[in-house]
Amino acid sequence: MPYPLHIEGLEKAFASQLVLGPINLGLEAGAITAIIGRSGSGKTTLLRCLGGLEESSAGTITIGDGKVTARDIGYVFQEPRLMPWLSVAKNAGFGLADLPKPARAQAIAEALEVVGLSDAGALLPKQLSGGMAQRVALARALAPHPKLILLDEPFSALDPFTREQMQDHLLHLHAYYGATMVLITHDMDEALALAHRVIVLDGPPGRIIGDFSPDLPHPADRTSVPFFNWKRRLTDLFSHRRREPERADAG
């Protein structure tokens, strides 16, 4: 079962400078939530707090029933961060050391198949293109079957063609693994094309200035009028930035 996520009064300060919060947010299990915002809006800090890479300064994060292990959470960074000395298959299985060998091999094969790299298992990271490397990073995060997957601008370093392919991949593997996903992005198209819910952060300190549930189909038709209208709405939010959270339910 995918995990719901509850954030209460979360704050993060670096050297007594508040960069994030307070954040109050509840995320539905199994949904894709996009968190968008400008650089410095605290979105990456928020994700790093969720993934345990930063200690929060105040507040609580409750993931699922609260008894979560590292294997229940997958994390995809902005860069692939593959171990250069390991093959693609071993990188994909990097978080599976606790599994017995047959189960591990099976989970690796499954994850590589979902990201479309079944034939690349023996390659070294230096032989991969940027898009392939990021797909291996996705496979590594997915292989342990996490119940929550955190993605930090995972496609921002890719060219536009590869990026759209990767977005399709992400929808496909969301359907396959059914995990709760939190996707950090600064790309409104990406947020609207993938997410069931879009949270808008602005700062510093990063606070929620918008919370939308666009009723767009997935994958969304990026040339459709509703898609365009939603994009307009998000853009407007930034151009006359409002402090009060806006809640909307219709597109």
Binding site: Y75, F77, M83, W85, A97, K126
Partner: protein
Amino acid sequence: MAERHIPRWVVGFAVPVLLLGIWQAASGAGLVSAAILPSPLLVINTLAAMAQSGEMAQAIGATAYRMALGFALGAGAATILGGLCGASALARALLDPLIQALRSVPSLAWVPLFILWLGIFEASKITLVAVGVFFPVYLNLVSGIANVDRKLLEVGRVHGFSPLRRLLRIQLPAALPAYVVGLRGGLGLGWMFVAAAELLGATDGLGFILDDGEQTGRPERVLAALLLFGLCGKLTDWALAAAGRQLVSWQDIAKA
């Protein structure tokens, strides 16, 4: 351009061969005394005689034995202590200042103590080689581990790695290129120290031939031993470099 078609290793031989020719000509013409600089031919004949009598194999065997044991001990201790200090901040705080302080002692200055403690025979020589090998390996391994990309360490954190697993699966493999550099540096120092140890008192080995050649006024034996030292050093370094290249073939670097 003509030089493009000549392999580089051939070009590298040009100057040594030229010098050898001048040397042989000068010796043949009696320009230098054979008591100071014997002719290349005499050195080659000396080598051939040493090979025939079995003295060469015996000397290389004795030196290589000290070298191998000393290298294994020094590199082994450096690997264990370097891994420990690289992985654990506590171990580093406890041990690294002491090791750094010991490093400031010129390694040859240990000789009298080693002889007093371990005697004049094998143990003190092997220990001296081990001390020489230890520091480059230790320093490179510790700095290799310390300089591992934070971004890779975070991958371990999101997977909930323990410190030991982080060491084995991220830090040590990532430090491997630096470690190989340390091993090669240690090997070079090891040869230096085995020569020193044998010069200071040995009854066999290449260093003994050096010393014996000096004592008995036979420079051709000194030159022959020098040549063998150079050859052994070069061959072992080449083998270690080749093995190292295999270990770090995953590195995405420009070919030399």
